[in-house]
């Protein structure tokens, strides 16, 4: 399942190979973007005015949703490759639903923080939390557009889903990427406290 999402295969035509390479490149750009945000996060959290924020528990639920979405998308790609169109379609719908649930849960987490008076302006740890989750959410929302295109193609070819399998495989790879990025962001928001940032920046 995962292997199907990771690299070009001999059955790929020029169009599929181009999309495959293009997606790797885009993931490189998006990965750079998030990496730079994390570097900026470390530098800013090293300032004396930064204090750690308590993360809402909803984030663990949203993490589970995104993990489910990623796995289901991979299974959908595998099913399409195996010629199981109906199963693939069900898995795709389920994947989309869990991804939407992820976004909704992220919104719920925001609401909890806002109710706790943790707002965008002020403590930089909170500012980075909102910016990073928003940016990641936008990438997920963009992924849902690709998901919709792949779903449409699959829906039109349920009886012969193999030609659409590459689209699903690319979606699956992107979902794996989104999950890895989210896991890295969550880890940094959990463990990268201002004290650790100051230690990294040599300020204590």
């Amino acid at each position: 399942m995962t292997a199907a999402a990771l690299g070009p295969r001999p059955w790929m035509g020029p169009r599929e190979r181009a999309a495959d390479t293009g997606l790797w490149c885009f993931m490189g750009v998006a990965g750079t973007l998030f990496s730079l945000f994390l570097v900026a996060d470390v530098m800013r959290l090293a300032s004396p005015d930064a204090t750690a924020i308590g993360l809402p528990r909803q984030l663990w639920l949203s993490t589970a949703w995104l993990l489910c979405g990623s796995v289901l998308m991979g299974l959908a790609a595998g099913a399409a490759r195996a010629g199981q169109g109906a199963r693939s379609l069900r898995l795709m719908w389920a994947s989309g639903a869990t991804t939407l649930a992820f976004l909704a849960t992220q919104g719920w987490a925001w609401q909890q923080l806002i109710e706790a008076r943790v707002v965008l302006a002020g403590n930089p740890a909170a500012s980075f939390f909102y910016v990073l989750t928003a940016l990641h959410g936008l990438h997920v929302a963009g992924g849902l557009l690709a998901w919709a295109v792949a779903l449409r193609a699959l829906g039109r070819a349920v009886d012969h889903p193999r030609p659409t399998a590459w689209r699903l495989a690319l979606c699956a790879r992107y979902w794996h990427f989104l999950f890895v990025v989210w896991a890295a962001l969550l880890a940094s928001m959990t463990w990268l406290t201002p004290d650790i940032a100051r230690a990294i920046c040599g300020q204590r």
Binding site: A18, T21, G22, L36, V131
Partner: protein, 588 residues
């Protein structure tokens, strides 16, 4: 051979789909280039207005201090981002990549079209800032916080917001284009076109695009955070400041963080502009001296190494910001190291010229001018790369002279040479030569008359960024006279650029009809069945490449060049692992 893109694509039929919402890389290239040149003329006008103030302070009432800083800021940003980056990647990248590697188009034509229109939106948003209350930002092209978004800086209300929004939109456009260029190079090369047979123009654009894809996110990050600081009151970059007697609502932000992010983008940006210029110059010098480029593989590796090193030199722009001396040592050293592959390229250009059959065509004149100008600007870069020399010179006109020579004028000379070289391919007509030569000589001599004296002014201690130089005892009267001289020359050079634009338009309709391969060049773009190439570029069959793009003056060959797609029996085919053919080019 198998056409990897299926049947020959049917070209769009209506005017709208053919020239407006076009997905043809050649049309998109012209759209990109046309927009970039137009916005570049705005940048040029702004520079002349700045020079009017410096040369004749107080003579023009409408150029007050606020306007002056707005002109400076918009000139810098327009020239670096919206002209040079867009022109090299969006213009030349779009036009040359598919034609030079034997592809029918970019691999994602729709996204390519979108890239241009999003770029156009970014330009319109930028230009809109001239019409909002307070006008465009006058924060300087580096947009350093805290002053960029604080009251007292021109355009601190709306101008800076529009600038940041425009940059974010531009980055989206560049990313869409960049993904296309990289993927096309990796996936759409025709049969026989190995990576080490690609012309150096493609190599330069390819590596520059990778730099853009990795460097622009840093500008994106800083742009988003500054926009939030300005609009929603965050304090990513903004410290607590007392401004006009009022304590700002910000606290704890780090202006240095912005500088790091900005220059992590800003220095690779120099090479985003320079690497395509390096590649194009290599091709032009080879064609117009009828000789294979010297050390092709070395040139490729130099491009790659320069690209990689460009990510570890950024803090040399921040020596005056203060840093740990060990960091200063590291960044000074890495800056000097990057001069090594760069010098290799210059040596190889000169060695290509050595005993070549040099044709002093207009593209060749611009190429030679580039080498001289880049060398001048590069050598002063060695001065400024040293911390101890940079600190006293950093705030002076020496820096203005340095960066205009190395990344302003030098790449623009390549733009002019390249446009002249590929104009017959694009339009099917030749540029008017007398006008081109006049434009060349005035531009070349003029830029030296403008920028050479600036080095002197810098060493004299004349500070940059000042609105008015009156009544400073350490600036002698001779400096003022020099400023008048520079301004007059700048105005002349500025007007002559209009001549170039006129030539572009006039020759497109009235220029002499061009032969399919007027320069007798060997690279693939000159082998298209039609000139200008039709939609899909190659007719029914994609070309098959048998050799590199530099088979000039091959002994025993029927002509003094062998096209890349000429049959293998025509000669000039690499015979060993080495990319270069066995015979050294011989003047004919």
């Amino acid at each position: 051979m198998t056409d990897s893109h299926g049947d020959v694509p049917h070209g769009p039929q209506s005017f709208i789909t053919r020239y407006v919402w076009s997905q043809d890389h050649k049309v998109i290239a012209v759209q990109y280039a046309g927009t970039a040149i137009l916005v570049g003329l705005v940048g040029l006008l702004l520079s002349n207005l700045m020079r009017l103030q410096i040369g004749f302070p107080g003579r023009f009432a409408f150029i007050d201090a606020e306007h002056y800083y707005q002109f400076v800021t918009m000139h810098g940003m327009i020239m670096v981002i919206y002209l040079l980056t867009a022109l090299f990647l969006g213009g030349f990248g779009n036009y040359l990549i598919p034609l030079m590697i034997g592809a029918r188009d970019m691999v994602f034509p729709y996204m390519n079209m979108l890239s241009f229109w999003v770029y156009l939106v970014s330009v319109l948003v930028l230009l809109a800032s001239f019409f909002v209350p307070g006008g465009p930002t006058g924060a300087g092209w580096t947009l350093y916080p805290p002053q960029a978004i604080m009251a007292g800086t021109p355009g601190a209300d709306w101008g800076i917001i529009l600038m940041l929004v425009s940059l974010l939109i531009f980055i989206a456009a560049t990313t869409m284009g960049g993904l296309n260029y990289v993927t096309t190079v990796l996936q759409a090369r025709c049969e026989g076109m190995t990576l080490l047979r690609m012309p150096l123009s493609v190599w330069g654009i390819f590596v520059a695009t990778i730099l853009a894809l990795l460097a622009f996110p840093a500008l994106f990050v800083s742009g988003v955070m500054m926009l939030l600081d300005k609009t929603l009151g965050t304090s990513f970059f903004m410290p607590a400041v007392i401004s006009m007697g009022q304590l700002s609502a910000h606290q704890g932000g780090s202006p240095l963080l912005f500088q790091h992010l900005f220059w992590f983008f800003g220095h690779p940006e120099v090479y985003i502009v320079a690497l395509p210029a390096f590649g194009i110059v290599s091709d032009l010098i080879s064609v117009h001296s009828r000789k294979a480029i010297f050390g092709y593989r070395m040139m490729v590796w130099a491009i790659v190494i320069i690209g990689a090193l460009s990510f570890v030199v950024w803090a040399h722009h921040m020596f005056v910001s203060g840093m740990n001396p060990w960091f200063g040592f590291f960044f000074a050293t890495s800056t000097l190291i990057i001069a090594v592959p760069t010098a290799i390229k210059v040596y190889n250009w000169v060695l290509t010229l050595w005993r070549g059959d040099i044709h002093l065509t207009v593209p060749m004149l611009f190429t030679l001018a580039f080498i001289l100008t880049f060398l001048s600007g590069g050598l002063t870069g060695l001065f400024l790369g040293n911390v101890s020399v940079d600190i006293p010179l950093s705030g002076t006109y020496f820096v203005v002279a340095h960066f205009h020579m190395v990344m302003g004028v030098a790449p623009l000379l390549v733009v002019f040479g390249a446009i002249t070289h590929w104009y017959p391919k694009i339009t099917g007509r030749m540029l008017n030569e007398p006008i081109s030569r006049l434009h060349f000589w005035v531009t070349f001599i003029g830029t030296y008359l403008i920028y050479f004296p600036m080095h002197y002014l810098g060493v004299l201690g004349m500070p940059r960024r000042y609105y008015n130089y009156d009544n400073y005892q350490f600036i002698p009267a001779s400096a003022h006279q020099l400023n008048v001289f520079i301004t007059v020359v700048a105005l002349v050079v500025g007007v002559v650029q209009l001549l170039f634009v006129f030539n572009l338009v006039w020759s497109a309709f009235r220029g002499r009809r061009a032969e399919p391969n007027p320069w007798r060049a060997a690279s693939l773009e000159w082998s298209t069945p039609q000139t200008p190439p039709a939609h899909g570029n190659w007719g029914a069959h994609l070309p098959v490449v048998h050799r590199w793009a530099y088979a000039y003056s091959v002994p025993g060959a029927a002509q003094d060049f062998i096209a890349q797609d000429a049959p293998a029996r025509s000669g000039g085919v690499e015979t060993s692992h080495d990319a270069e053919p066995p015979a050294r080019g011989v003047a004919t």
